[in-house]
Subunit: 649 residues, 2 copies
């Protein structure tokens, strides 16, 4: 009885969803993304949740079209086999982007709405900064979108705001602590840190943890020696070593470098500082890599914010703020459920920078989605930038953190980008495309396929089969399309298929969906590229040579000394997160195709200990975008009668 009941339950879980898909009636020419999004009425999100097997108490609805999903589901479905795990990556892109998000969305629309296979797309949440600065949606586009796209692109459920709040509380705690230590005696500091409340002095639990770390095995505040009091009360942060920056989710270039603490109340303790865009916060990377509330709390506590005057790392935990950060992030950790234009499920969760961080959506969204789709289902997740960066980090950082094994890589290419790699004129945002890109040019395509071949080879380093998805534009000719598919297969791709999701929705990606399903049946022989036990320098060199095709690397003295310091501090066995341009396989954005014989210069090395990686800087990385002279907010408006957003993309 029990075992047959269990089997029944398992079958229920494996069952194909009875999903009510939303019908599309694609128009030609294709209207704007916002018009397409608005023309479709999404299902109520609680209806969608029920369709995909979520229990009523496993979701927290936010308005009509968004819901957070509770992590308790992972416990309920822990015996359920995972679905197939598909990564969407891309070739080296033009500055216009090659449509990885639309391919991701088109693929799940095809799988679920057209092939009746359970599937989930897992996407990154975009930063609001660029949304109001330079046009560029992240919800997909055309007839392959997440809807409502304005909800996706604006506050969503407040996760980035929570990150901002947590990040800045920690920043304020650092400077204020330095000020208080500089202006108070040991005794005064101690009396304030461990105050007399109703005649009693008690350590808080976070303070007891600090005592333990310091090797002081005492619990009665009155028994500490003067030396112990000083050790306990002083973090002795060296201001020049502070790496923790404040953040805002706004493109505010005037905050790239500034001097803070200039009010007389700060008594002269001013210092140079900067704001980064919120998604560059290490807390975003933590959110993306954590797999539970307990793990997130530990990671937040481990984040290193500076060194003390003896060169020892100072952490969030040392500042006593771990609990508060966790409280601020307690809802952000739950993935956000939305839907595609065809009514299939999507998770939107986390959106770390793809250079100073790993640029992948969250481990938790992928894990939950893999349970929900069931063994025969598919989870399609996306990596930022080209495969040399996003995919490499997906494998070496994200899969290492999650323990998940990918089944297929979908590599997105466009004729436009291939022509650029073949020697076409430069492609610049805001400038009309040259005729090479709007007319057939077989030679440029043929020459540019070298980049596609190289990216296929990179995926193969990890033992995972590759399906090339050619994201077709209306100016692409049949001969160009056929050539790309032919060359891709010759380079070792399992398959290569043209996709038309942008103009017709999931129906246009059915061939891709079929190819992915077949590739997943092949089985992958996934392996990491490097062993974590290797020295930091060796890990960097491995990536540079095997992935980028560099001859070697060259470390600046600064980079070398940071590597020495991190190794000495015990952080040498973390994976590597390269901060490199995405516009070339090399460090030089204008070197297209497959650059050779270059030496990759490492100018500096930094560490995100809570997120769990070391990030070498290849050149300078801007972590705070600016607004252009005519920001796109000039076009954005709200119709106050209909409450409809206008001009967003």
């Amino acid at each position: 009885m029990v075992s047959s009941g269990r089997r029944w339950l398992r079958e229920q879980q494996h069952a194909r969803w009875r999903l009510h898909c939303l019908k599309l009636q694609p128009l030609s020419p294709v209207p704007s993304d916002l018009e397409i999004s608005r023309a479709q009425t999404p299902k109520a999100v609680d209806v969608l949740a029920k369709e995909i097997g979520l229990l009523a108490d496993e979701i927290e609805v936010y308005g009509r079209s968004k819901a957070k999903v509770r992590l308790s589901l992972l416990e309920r479905l822990k015996d359920q086999a995972d679905g197939k795990y598909v990564l969407v990556a891309g070739i080296t892109p033009t500055p216009l982007g090659e449509g990885k998000s639309t391919v991701t969305v088109g693929l799940v629309q095809a799988l679920t709405a057209h092939l009746n296979i359970n599937s989930f797309a897992c996407l990154r949440q975009p930063s609001q900064g660029p949304t109001f600065g330079v046009k560029g949606g992240a919800a997909g586009g055309g007839y392959a979108q997440v809807i409502p796209m304005e909800e996706f692109n604006l506050h969503l459920t407040g996760d980035i705001h929570a990150i901002t709040a947590a990040n800045n509380l920690l920043a304020a705690a650092i400077d204020t602590r330095i000020l208080h230590e500089n202006t108070q005696t040991d005794k005064a500091l101690y009396n304030r840190l461990v105050p007399l409340v109703n005649g009693v002095r008690e350590f808080s639990s976070i303070q007891l943890a600090r005592l333990k770390k310091l090797g002081i095995n005492k619990t009665d505040p009155s028994t500490l020696t003067e030396e112990e009091i000083s050790k306990f009360a002083r973090l002795n942060i060296e201001p020049s070593t502070i790496t923790w920056q404040r953040v805002l989710d706004t493109n505010d270039r005037f905050l790239r470098k500034m001097t803070i603490g200039q009010a007389h109340t700060e008594k002269g303790y001013s210092r140079q500082a900067q704001f980064d865009i919120a998604v560059a916060s290490e807390i975003m990377a933590v959110l993306a890599l954590t797999d539970s509330l307990t793990d997130m709390k530990e990671r937040l506590g481990r984040m290193v914010v500076a060194s003390d005057k003896n060169g020892q790392p100072v952490t969030a935990e040392d500042l006593g703020v771990t609990g508060a950060l966790t409280v601020l992030m307690k809802d952000a950790i739950k993935p956000n459920l939305m839907q595609t234009l065809e009514g299939t499920p999507v998770f939107v969760h986390a959106g770390p920078f793809a250079n100073i961080a790993h640029g992948n959506s969250s481990v938790l969204a992928d894990k939950i989605a893999l349970k929900l789709v069931g063994e025969e289902g598919f989870v399609v997740t996306e990596a930022g930038f080209g495969a040399d960066i996003g995919m490499e980090k997906f494998f070496n950082i994200k899969c290492r953190a999650s323990g998940l094994v990918p089944n297929v890589v979908v590599l997105v290419a466009t004729v436009r980008a291939l022509k650029m790699h073949g020697g076409g004129p430069s492609v610049t945002a805001g400038v009309p495309l040259k005729k090479e890109y709007t007319e057939e040019n077989i030679q440029l395509v043929a020459d540019g396929c070298c980049n596609l071949q190289k990216q296929i080879q990179i995926a193969q380093l990890f033992g995972v089969p590759v399906v090339v998805a050619l994201n077709v534009f209306k100016t692409d000719s049949r001969a160009e399309i056929d050539l790309v598919c032919e060359l891709a297969k010759r380079a070792g791709a399992f398959d290569a298929v043209p996709c038309y999701h942008w103009s017709v929705g999931g129906k246009g990606s059915v061939d891709l969906a079929r190819a992915v399903r077949e590739a997943a049946g092949q089985g992958s022989r996934f392996r990491f590229l490097y062993d974590l036990q290797l020295p930091i320098v060796e890990k960097i060199r491995t990536i540079a040579q095997a992935v980028y095709g560099a001859k070697d690397i060259e470390l600046s003295p600064e980079a070398q000394s940071k590597i020495d310091r991190y190794t000495q501090q015990g952080f040498g066995n973390l994976p590597i997160c390269m901060a490199k341009t995405h516009l070339s396989l090399s460090h030089q954005p204008d070197k297209k195709g497959v650059p050779r014989d270059f030496i990759l210069p490492i100018s500096d090395v930094r560490a995100s200990i809570g997120a769990g990686f070391i990030y070498p800087l290849v050149g300078t990385m801007s972590t705070m975008p600016g607004l252009p002279t005519r920001p796109c907010f000039y076009d954005i408006d709200l119709d106050t009668e209909t409450e409809q957003v206008k001009g967003l993309f």
Copy 2:
């Protein structure tokens, strides 16, 4: 038929709610606020919404215990008579606060859960900064609370985050515009502002509005003269006049004064700037005073951020950002529905500063609540600080904006504060109370009642009946309580009653509820204190003399010149929002009781044109709090197993 149908409908709307109240079982001694909050399971917010007559499509649920209410309800119920409108204000408080929020919550618990009268509490949303800095809840306390209190005190539904995002987008737009104007020719600026897209140049609607404002009646970008191009393209902002500051919802004292723009990419255009706490943003004041989406958009566009080089005001509209700000604020404008410990409805919406802004919750929450309770119901709303500030602004600013007429003022007093006004020793946060406050002392109480009498008289200036609510502490003696009530009535209060909501919930405020109901039956003869057409100086003088009891005012030269400028710019007929300490009726915090014969110094005058008031500064006002040496985040933690917040108050 039709008319009887209408009557039936009206009766339905007037009907007493069939509200399932939550039972309380008060413990003694009273546990911590968080423990009390946690011991009660709130109703699902959609159940509560249905109970109070909201239609399913009028709410947007955010999780289990919070919902946003749509403004469309105001249209549906526009023929419904408003309920009674009750303001809770206080005497001049000690730094510990005298419990206005608990009285507000206790009063609605009494009205609805114990007298079966429809009622709504309208509260301000607290800033997260102090929540993690210095202890002090805003959800009420003891057995008169809004639950879940951690939801109330943390992100809520993201309104303050939306304000932060909107505020900082505008700030970034200002500095970036100055940089772009400084580094580009008229022609280059124009070509970027009105770019050629697919061979066509077009003005956006926001740019057409700007042309109209400049008196340029053209719509074809190619027809502007060189002079017109320059006028259109250059705002010519004078950096030293910028009054728009960046904000964060964090207590970050190092941002009180700083130099921004020091990166080489900003080409030397650095300037001094500051961050304020987010709730000090003018956008918060706009949110609190607006009565519709259309009105909010107009107010946001009107906000003056600086002067140009000719001394003319530069607005958000001039920067082209009105639409984007409105889009960012489109959900924040909807009031947030929560509930009290006894399951009665509460709106939490807006929380502007009570000194540089008007310190009252939102007009929209009050308006919607007045419709929902029906003609026989009560809406209890709260004003920050003492009655001399919060109540005066409620009447002269908020009621003027809303057109609503208050029926009753509840004036909250405590024996503790009265003793302080009677000459008791000073009361300081974090320092144990002196024995004068914990033992009976009739003389101090009798002497201190002068402050209560004065605050009663202030309310009477506006023609509204006053009920004094004595918020009883366990150390108050019967004789002290009786004396306060006796003296209050003698000073003209309609009634004066002791309240015990903190220790027993609504049951402890039933006498107050009865008194309020009776007072509301008296009818109020509400009048404003001053005519808007009076010169700014006269309006300030009227408040200083009639409300604070000052002999006269004294303007600094700076204040005088600002008044002249605002008058000249056409802002002379706005109401006045005094930025004065709440710790004394005068400008000196240590002058307790009823100070006399003082001259009120006005050091500076500023303007919030979008919110719609002029704010004179009486002394310096800190708009960015700091963290103490031991911030309360030391006690805050999350139990990662149960997901429960610990140590929050």
